[in-house]
Point group: C2
Chain length 454, copies 2
C-alpha cells in the first residue's frame, strides 16, 4: 500500500466517523465553562480529560492555583514532536436574548453546531482529537509524537499559563507548535504566526455618591459627560489614537512580512456589509486596504461603556458614575503596562485626574519565524489537501498568548483552526459548520503527516 493511499484512508476514516465527532463536540459544548464568571470550569476539565484519554493519549490534569491545565502525550513514528495548544474555557454567553437557540444546548441548525464554544475553542479541540484517532485506527500510530496542552483561562488572559510553561519546559519541549485559531479560515487554510497583545483597561469616573435629580444638572458634574469628553481626547474620528506614546514602540513591518500581507487576498467587503448590515468599513477602506489594516495595526477599542440610567424608558438623573472598558490590541513591540501608563498620563495631562484606570487583562504581542519547519509543513499540507499555498498572516489577529511558547519554549509555531469570520466567536449564535469541523480534522492530520517528513 502506497503512503499516499494510506493517508487517504486516514481522511476516509475522518469522514466515516463524522457523526460521532459532531456528537462529541455537542457534548463538550453542553458543559458551560465560563472562566470570567467561574462557571463549570472543574466539570469541563474532568469531562475533557476523559475525552482526550479516550483518544488514546496519556493525560495529566495539573493544579495551577487557577483553573487546571490538561497536558497529554502520545509517542508516534519518526523523531519529530509536535505540540498542540487549545483552551477549554469560553466567553460569557450574554446577551442571552440574542441567541436563536440556547447557547449551551448545542443544537445542529442548518448544518452548524450553534453554541458558545462551538468554534472557540471546543471545535478546534475536536478537530485535533478526530485526526489523532484516525491515525491510530488506520495505522496504529501517529506519524510524529504529539504533546497537547489545554488550558482553562484563555478568555481571562491565561494568568496560569506562563508560570506553568516556564516550570514545565521539558514536559512541553517540541520541534514545532500548532496553536489554535478561530476566525480566519477561508477555502484554503490560513496560518497566523503570532498574536496581538492586549491591554484591557476599565476606566471609571465617579462625580458624586448619589445620582442627583437632573433638575440640578446646571451645577453638578456629570460622570457620563466627563467620560465622553475624556474618551473623545483619546481617539479622533480618523482612528488616530491621540494618547501620547501609544505608537512609540510599534515595530515597522519587515520586507518578508510585507510580502506575506500582499499575498493575502482582499476581503470580500460587499459580502460582509450585507451579512452584518454595516454602513461600510472604518475610514471607508476598500477591500484591498482591509488585510493590511486588520493585521498590522494596533487598536484602541471601546468594548463597552455605561453610566447613569441604562434601563428602558425615562429616568431623569445626573449620572454620578460612568465606566468604559478599553480594549487595545497591541502589535510587536508594544507593552500593555506601558500603554496603561500612557493612558494614565494622558488623562492626567488633559485634566481627568479623577478618572480611574484599572488593568483587567494584559498579554504581550509576538511573532514567530515565517521560515520555520512548522510553517513549511502547514504550507505543504495545504498543497496536499487543497493544491494551493496556505495564506500566511505574519502577525495574528487575536490575543491568544503565543508569546508564552515563543518566549519560554523557543518553539516556532503556526496558529490555524476550524473557524471562519462567520463563526461569531464571542457573539450570540457562535457556531461551527459541521463541514468545517470535519475538514479541520483532515487539515490537522495533513499537518502531522507533513511535519513528520520535514
Amino acid at each position: 500500500m502506497s503512503e499516499g493511499s494510506d493517508f487517504q484512508k486516514v481522511l476516509d476514516y475522518i469522514d466515516a466517523n463524522a457523526e460521532r465527532t459532531v456528537a462529541d463536540l455537542q457534548e463538550l459544548c453542553r458543559q458551560p465553562s465560563i472562566s470570567t464568571t467561574n462557571v463549570g470550569i472543574r466539570e469541563m476539565a474532568a469531562l475533557l480529560e476523559a475525552r482526550v484519554a479516550r483518544s488514546g493519549l496519556g493525560t495529566t490534569l495539573h493544579e495551577t492555583g487557577g483553573n487546571p491545565i490538561l497536558t497529554a502525550t502520545l509517542a508516534g513514528g519518526g523523531d519529530k514532536t509536535l505540540l498542540f495548544y487549545n483552551h477549554y474555557d469560553v466567553q460569557p454567553a450574554e446577551p442571552l436574548s440574542e441567541w436563536d437557540t440556547p447557547p449551551f444546548d448545542a443544537e445542529v441548525v442548518d448544518g452548524a453546531v450553534i453554541a458558545r464554544g462551538a468554534t472557540d475553542n471546543k471545535g478546534n479541540i475536536m478537530s485535533r482529537l478526530a485526526a489523532f484517532e484516525a491515525f491510530l485506527a488506520v495505522r496504529g500510530e501517529l506519524p510524529c509524537s504529539v504533546k497537547y496542552i489545554i488550558e482553562g483561562e484563555e478568555e481571562v488572559g491565561s494568568p496560569s499559563l506562563e508560570p506553568f510553561v516556564k516550570e514545565n519546559a521539558d514536559l512541553l519541549a517540541a520541534d514545532g507548535c500548532v496553536w489554535e485559531d478561530n476566525t480566519t479560515r477561508v477555502d484554503i487554510p490560513v496560518l497566523s504566526l503570532g498574536n496581538k497583545g492586549l491591554c484591557y483597561m476599565e476606566l471609571t469616573c465617579r462625580t458624586a455618591n448619589v445620582d442627583f435629580h437632573s433638575s440640578n444638572a446646571q451645577i453638578y458634574e456629570n460622570a457620563a459627560w466627563r467620560m465622553t469628553w475624556a474618551l473623545s481626547t483619546m481617539k479622533d474620528r480618523d482612528e488616530n489614537v491621540l494618547v501620547e506614546g501609544f505608537y512609540d514602540d510599534v515595530l515597522p513591518v519587515t520586507e518578508i512580512e510585507d510580502e506575506l500581507i500582499r499575498r493575502i487576498k482582499p476581503y470580500n467587503g460587499a459580502e460582509r456589509v450585507e451579512k452584518f448590515e454595516l454602513r461600510g468599513f472604518l475610514l471607508d477602506m476598500k477591500d484591498e486596504d482591509l488585510p493590511r489594516r486588520h493585521l498590522a495595526n494596533p487598536t484602541f477599542n471601546i468594548a463597552g461603556f455605561d453610566g447613569g440610567y441604562t434601563g428602558e424608558g425615562v429616568k431623569t438623573i445626573v449620572s454620578a458614575r460612568a465606566r468604559a472598558k478599553i480594549d487595545c490590541r497591541l502589535v510587536p513591540n508594544q507593552d500593555p503596562y506601558k500603554i496603561r501608563d500612557c493612558v494614565r498620563a494622558h488623562l492626567d495631562r488633559h485634566g481627568f485626574e479623577d478618572i480611574g484606570v484599572e488593568l483587567l487583562f494584559t498579554s504581550y504581542p509576538a511573532k514567530s519565524d515565517p521560515e520555520a519547519d512548522i510553517v513549511k509543513a502547514c504550507n505543504a499540507a495545504s498543497q496536499r489537501l487543497y493544491g494551493e499555498d496556505a495564506i500566511i498572516n505574519p502577525f495574528g489577529n487575536g490575543s491568544t498568548p503565543t508569546y508564552i511558547v515563543l518566549k519560554h519554549l523557543g518553539v516556532p509555531l503556526s496558529s490555524t483552526g476550524v473557524g471562519r469570520i462567520t463563526s461569531r466567536t464571542h457573539s450570540a449564535n457562535e457556531n461551527l459548520k459541521v463541514a468545517d469541523l470535519i475538514d479541520g480534522a483532515k487539515w490537522m492530520a495533513a499537518i502531522c503527516e507533513e511535519f513528520s517528513q520535514m
Copy 2:
C-alpha cells in the same frame, strides 16, 4: 378666642396627630406606584382615593385612557378657592442594591421615612391632607374652599393631564394654585413660580447586527466610539451647548426676576461637597454663582448611556450598539420639539446621520406672575410661621407641568412643598424627615389661612 390663638390650635392639632400622619405616609409609600413600568398604579389610585375621602373631601376618580386622575373638593369659608396639585406615581427604585432599607418598606430611620415616593410626592400629599384635617377638627371648616387634583403620570410626562385640564376647566377653576415641590425647602420656605421644560431624547447608534470579536476593531465601526464622538460635538467642557439653535428662544431674565434671584441666598457649597463627595461644582462655581446658574440656565444632560459589554470583568468585542439618554431642562421660551429638531439637524450636519433620535418625554417651560395673590399669601404665611419673607424662585427647577395650569386655567400658582435637596428624590434612599412632614403640614395650613384673607 382670637383668630391668632384659633390658628395656633390648628397648628397644635397637627403636632398632636403627627404620629398618625407619619403612619399614613408609610402606608402610602408601601404601595409601589411606578408609572414608567406600570407597577401598582391602580392599587395606588384606589388607596389614595380612600385616604383623601377620609380627610373629608368629596372625591372622583377619573378614567383618562392613561392612569386615573383623582379630583376632590371641599367647600370652605370665604369666597376664595385654592387648587392643590400632586401626583401619586413615583420614579423606579433601581438600583435596588444602593438602598439601605428596601424602597417600599418605608421604615423610619433616624427620624426620616426612607422610601421611594417619601418626598416625591407622597409626603407632599400627606402634608396637605394633615392641614385640611386640622382645620376641620378645630374649626369644622377650611378658611377657603379647596380643590385637589392628583395625577398618576407626572414621572412619565403627564400625558393625560393636559387634555384632562382642558376638558375640566370649570371643575378646576380657582383663584390660585399650590403646586408640588420636592427639593427646595430650606429653613424658610421656597416658592417656585414656574417650571423648566423637558426634552428627553434617546439617541441610538447601531453599526452592525453583531458584536464582532475585538480583534476586528481595526476595520469595523464601533457604535460606542461613534456615540462618544457625536456627544462630544454637542457640549464642550465649559458646559456650552454646541447644538446649533439650542439657545435661540431663551428669554432674557426680567428685572423683577433678576431681583428675586439676587435675594436667594448662596448655596452652601462646602456642605454639599462634603455630603455628596463632590470634586466641586461645575465650572468651579462659587456659592454665590450657584443659584443664578441653577435657576436661569437650560441643561443638556446625559441621564445615562450604554453600549457594548457592560457586565463585570472582561469581554472583548466591538460594540455594535450604543445608546444615550439626553435630558434637556428648558427655560422659557424653549420648545422641546424644536430642540429635538436642532439635535437631529446637528447630528446630520456633523456626519452622524445614522444616529437615531427618539423623543421619550416632553414638557414646556412656564413662569407665573410673581405679584399674584397666591404668591403674596405664601409670603405672608412665611412671615406668620417663620418671621421672614419666603425665598422666591421665579422659574422653578423641575419639569413638573405647571404650564398646563398656567396655559389652560389661567390660574397663577406657587410651587412649594416638604422636601430638601437631601431628600434624594429620584435616587436610592429617598427620604423625608418626619419634622419636615409635620412642618410642611403647618405651612400648608398657613397658606390656606392667608390666602382666604387676600
